[in-house]
Symmetry: C2
Amino acid sequence: MPIGLSTEELDRIDLIVAARRKIKRGTTLFRNGEKFNSLYAIRTGFFKTCVASEDGRDQVTGFQMAGEVIGLDGIVNDHHTCDAIALEDAEVCVMPFERIEELSREVNALQRHVHKIMSREIVREHGVMLLLGSMRAEERLASFLLNLVQRLHARGFSKSELILRMTREEIGSYLGLKLETVSRTFSKFAADGIVEVKQRHVHILNTDALKDIVNPKACN
Amino acid sequence: MPIGLSTEELDRIDLIVAARRKIKRGTTLFRNGEKFNSLYAIRTGFFKTCVASEDGRDQVTGFQMAGEVIGLDGIVNDHHTCDAIALEDAEVCVMPFERIEELSREVNALQRHVHKIMSREIVREHGVMLLLGSMRAEERLASFLLNLVQRLHARGFSKSELILRMTREEIGSYLGLKLETVSRTFSKFAADGIVEVKQRHVHILNTDALKDIVNPKACN
DNA sequence: CGTAATGTTGAGCGCATTCAAGCCGGGTGG
DNA sequence: CCACCCGGCTTGAATGCGCTCAACATTACG
């Protein structure tokens, strides 16, 4: 993934991957409390990560797709602090963190890359905090859709059509809303002609309208 | 900060600090858009970090005190993506990130330490997401107070008394509430005999009650 | 084909917000 | 030293957004 490497360096980085692992839909890649050993690069499939409070409430902290890395939460305490659950059959590269640390001492570009991945996650979460702390339901869902479709587009999928891999409840958990509110908001967007929604198939008819909901240009 | 180092290694780590910098209350250590060069270790004082959406809303993403590190958000894009503002006169150690990367290639314990700091921040933000996504006002404020007093206690301050360095508005922004709601909730806690509040002076009378608000033990 | 899981929609409610008025405390200048 | 001012804080009343509870529709799946 990092660029600007010699072929020799690239070969060495390939050696980080200890194994590949297939994860069936609905099963966990790792779960809260488990020993942390490796980071995982998603090759195919779709994951959610969620944390739980002692009294059973849980919160989806993110949705991850091909090319993204999960498991960073485990580094601090040598134990994972959240669950990673496959939302569809998936395959990951298992990258023992020991090896990553070892090799990133020698390959500067890898070291830099690891740091960026972690920093990127921190910045992403800042964005989620902004969303959860100050946006209303419509803004949250619009923001969510735009983010999802943008990431999918970067992977070669459509700019305007997507299939949700998660339930309304999972979307709601991520956005700090109840599933009914998510459903209602989808219906509202559909009524406004902004999207077509048929269960998990979403067709975005008016991207600008979504952007305008997230970031109203009332100043004009 | 890291332990288990030879004195020689410790000396080298000291060399990371390029300078110390004093920050007056109300001024910024860095702000959104600025070039990223260094991480900052807080020696004394108290900071808030906040992100802003294009339309002016902003969200406090954290409060940082002595011993904590800020600036991690800048690593991904070589530019900071949030503002760091001193809530009281402060002093920080400026640690050029280049040097950190350099030295952490040679000193394993430092490398490990850097990774843990970043991972810790990710886990902390997971907790905030849980708070913002699923807690009610009283739970949020109770959780906030407990977290604050626990961190202060770890630095040798009282377990039950603290002085808030931030306004009600800043607390509200962090907790996803309006300042009036923060104020009302403080009043409610006071009426229930859980805390005494006089402006920014807070005296926690019943820690268990606060814990119980965060994590109700209705099962008993 | 039948059952369970998921999604939609409606009605009523409650918590946090909004809007507004007043209070407190610290700093400044007459 | 006191009067004044201003930012921060508190409190009240009314509103509204999202939640709860509930019924029903649709889809997935064994």
